[in-house]
């Protein structure tokens, strides 16, 4: 669970640390770095949150059952 917490904290800390991405270069497809970098984090955040979700599921799966599942 501690690992899940770390995974969730990463996108928050990275995006709040504005100085490291508030710049124009390098550009990508005409987009200044500032913009495409944040677009990139949409997907990175999704991946990190999904990993955290799987981690909490497997941590939980050992103790409880879902409705309708075989016990």
């Amino acid at each position: 669970m501690a690992l899940a917490a770390v995974l969730l904290a990463i996108p928050i800390l990275v995006l709040l640390w504005v100085p490291h991405y508030a710049k124009e270069d390098p550009k990508l497809f005409g987009f200044p770095f500032f913009f495409w970098y944040q677009f990139l984090w949409v997907f990175l955040c999704s991946a990190l949150t999904y990993t955290a979700f799987r981690l909490t599921l497997s941590a939980r799966g050992k103790t409880t059952h879902k409705v309708g599942e075989d016990r």
């Binding site: 996108p11 709040l16 497809f29 984090w41 990190l48």
Partner: protein
């Protein structure tokens, strides 16, 4: 790229009949479809629709994901954010992207616990939870009142969005005071009628048609428009130039430069705190909590939290439409002949699309603002009738009385929203949402901290809340728009001690927490009672397999229940 604001004024007045007709026809169609679907449901004959609406185990994650998306696009994303980008650039507008990214890790952390404890105890509002956790009516009232009040400016933002569409389509106008605000009053009347008649049922059919419209417009807009104005290089170039020109003009007029292409070092704190404050605030609103609690298991919230961030991508592209409008030379002139940045996206659509498609786009924006505004006002009204009326005014209220108060209050909350639009500076609609955020964020400690610990003392939380509310309101009031001279002109102020600009909500939040910690330490040392806690640790982990949770979900499953799922799509607490 200096805007010549008066040159095209004559082009924008007058009614665009084709667009207006398409707008009205589509709007009528969606509304009628909604009412018909409601009838079907009452006859209990549309099992398949029910299944489809209820979150799509049948349809699978991807289509569910598609359906959820429609709810994320409101006047905030379509009108306010691009308008802020158009007017003052990245700090004012693009922070919405990191906001809607970090939103999901944040709700991942606490929303599952709120879901579990709420379903174990039958809580339907955050105020219910606080009441149960501390057995304290005062703290619960504070949370309820804040939810009610903070929703008002948020609804105001939706009204501004509908008004913008109507104004660009050519409704209203003229010099006298009634005609001038006619689009706004039409928007209000439509919203009130819409909410009053259809209530929270807002059936899945409406959600589906609305989503199709919104996606159609978004895809066409972000794919077609950038190419029409010379590609992204030209768009960013035009924006950079406009922001530099705006700043130069501000400096010349003796005002601080406020526009930004990419945030400069003076704006780092503002950008970060705007994103963080907005993200922490969103899921404190009554309508967001209602929607989250309606999901069918605690895991649904977490799974959705991991796939919803992809919407932030499209939100970012929509934000950049504000800059597409700069490159396109769009002139957002209101019917009174004055420039109004809020009109920029409807105006861009009218300029660039054939009339009939402009009408489709207008309908998408209008319906995309109406549905969430209706959901918000009903959620706020339910909080009022449950946590204020029934708790403080009429303890023995019958369900019928409670429902009547709810209906009345849903009108009151909209009327206040209208007052917000009329008295505050509607040139900067995104500020409405930020103002609501300042208030609602002050309930964060009482709700979220209490989900994890009972270390905080109820009076500490109450005093912290009071300190945050007073500080936040006073600070926001003292922000004066240098051009119009109106109070509540913005939501950023100097952070004491740092001497950088920051979102007032976050500063007030820090003050809130400090007060809560200090008062708690004193009260704990002096053994003042911290109330009785009716929850147990297990409550915070219970899932859908728990018998009490199952019973609670079954009780809330009917469509006639005022606390049921807003749109029958489970777990889609929206980012608005």
């Amino acid at each position: 790229m200096t805007p010549h604001l008066t040159v095209m004024a004559s082009d924008t007045s007058g009614v665009n009949w084709v667009a207006l007709t398409v707008l009205i026809v589509l709007f009528a169609l969606v509304t009628v479809a909604g009412f018909m679907a409601t009838r079907f449901k009452q006859a209990d004959s549309l099992e398949s629709l029910e299944e489809w609406g209820l979150g799509g185990r049948k349809f699978g994650t991807w289509i569910t994901w598609f359906l959820l998306g429609g709810d994320l696009y409101t006047a905030y994303t379509f009108v306010a954010v691009p308008a802020a980008m158009f007017a003052t650039g990245a700090v004012a507008g693009f922070f919405a992207v990191p906001y809607t990214i970090i939103l999901y890790p944040i709700i991942f952390i606490f929303m599952a616990r709120l879901w579990s404890v709420s379903h174990r105890h039958g809580y339907v509002t955050p105020a219910d939870f606080v009441r149960g956790r501390y057995d304290d009516r005062g703290l619960s009232l504070a949370v309820a009142v804040t939810g009610f009040v903070a929703t008002m400016p948020y609804i105001a933002l939706q009204l501004v969005g509908i008004q913008a569409v109507l104004e660009v389509a050519g409704l209203g106008g003229g010099d006298n005071i009634i005609a001038k605000d006619a689009p706004l009053f039409i928007a209000f009347a439509v919203l009130a009628a819409y909410t009053y008649s259809s209530g929270l049922r807002a059936p899945a059919v409406i959600a589906f048609v609305k989503d199709i419209l919104i996606y159609l417009v978004i895809i066409v807009a972000v794919v077609y428009l950038p190419g029409q104005v010379g590609g992204w290089d030209a768009i960013f170039g035009a924006a950079e130039e406009k922001m530099a020109t705006t700043n130069a003009a501000s400096v010349e007029a003796g005002l601080p430069p406020t526009a930004s292409f990419i945030p400069g070092s003076a704006a780092f704190w503002a950008y970060a705190t705007l994103a963080l404050g907005s993200a922490m605030a969103l899921f404190m609103y009554p309508h967001s909590v209602t929607a989250s609690l309606s999901s069918n298991s605690r895991n649904t919230i977490r799974r959705n939290a991991s796939i919803l961030p992809a919407y932030s991508f499209v939100l970012g592209l929509l934000a950049l439409l504000g800059w597409v409008a700069i490159a396109a030379g769009t002139q957002p002139i209101g019917l009174d002949g004055e420039p109004n940045a809020q009109l920029v996206i409807p105006q861009l659509f009218e300029d660039m699309f054939p009339s009939w498609f402009a009408g489709v786009a207008f309908a998408a924006i209008a319906i995309g603002a109406l549905v969430p505004a209706a959901i918000m006002s009903i959620a706020a009204a339910n909080t009022f009738s449950r946590n204020i009326y029934k708790e403080w005014i009429n303890k023995s209220a019958t369900p019928a009385q409670e429902a009547k108060v709810s209906k009345l209050m849903s009108l009151v909350v909209k009327a206040f929203a209208l007052v917000f639009v009329l008295t505050l500076d509607k040139q900067n609609a995104i500020n409405f949402q930020l103002l609501g955020g300042i208030w609602i964020l002050q309930t964060f400690p009482a709700i979220v901290f209490s989900l994890f610990t009972r270390w905080f003392h109820r009076y500490g939380l109450l005093l912290g809340w009071a300190a945050g509310m007073v500080y936040g309101t006073v600070e926001a009031y003292s922000v004066v728009n240098p051009v119009t001279g109106k109070h509540f002109g913005g939501s950023t102020a100097l952070i004491p001690g740092l001497e950088k600009m920051g979102y007032i909500a976050v500063t007030a939040f820090v003050l809130n927490v400090v007060v809560a910690v200090v008062v708690t330490a004193v009260l704990r040392a002096t053994n003042v009672s911290n109330g009785r806690d009716e929850t147990i640790p297990f409550d915070y982990f219970a899932d859908a397999d728990d018998p009490r949770v199952q019973k609670d979900i079954a009780e809330h499953a009917t469509h006639d229940n005022p606390y049921g799922d807003a749109d029958d799509i489970a777990g889609n607490a929206p980012a608005r």
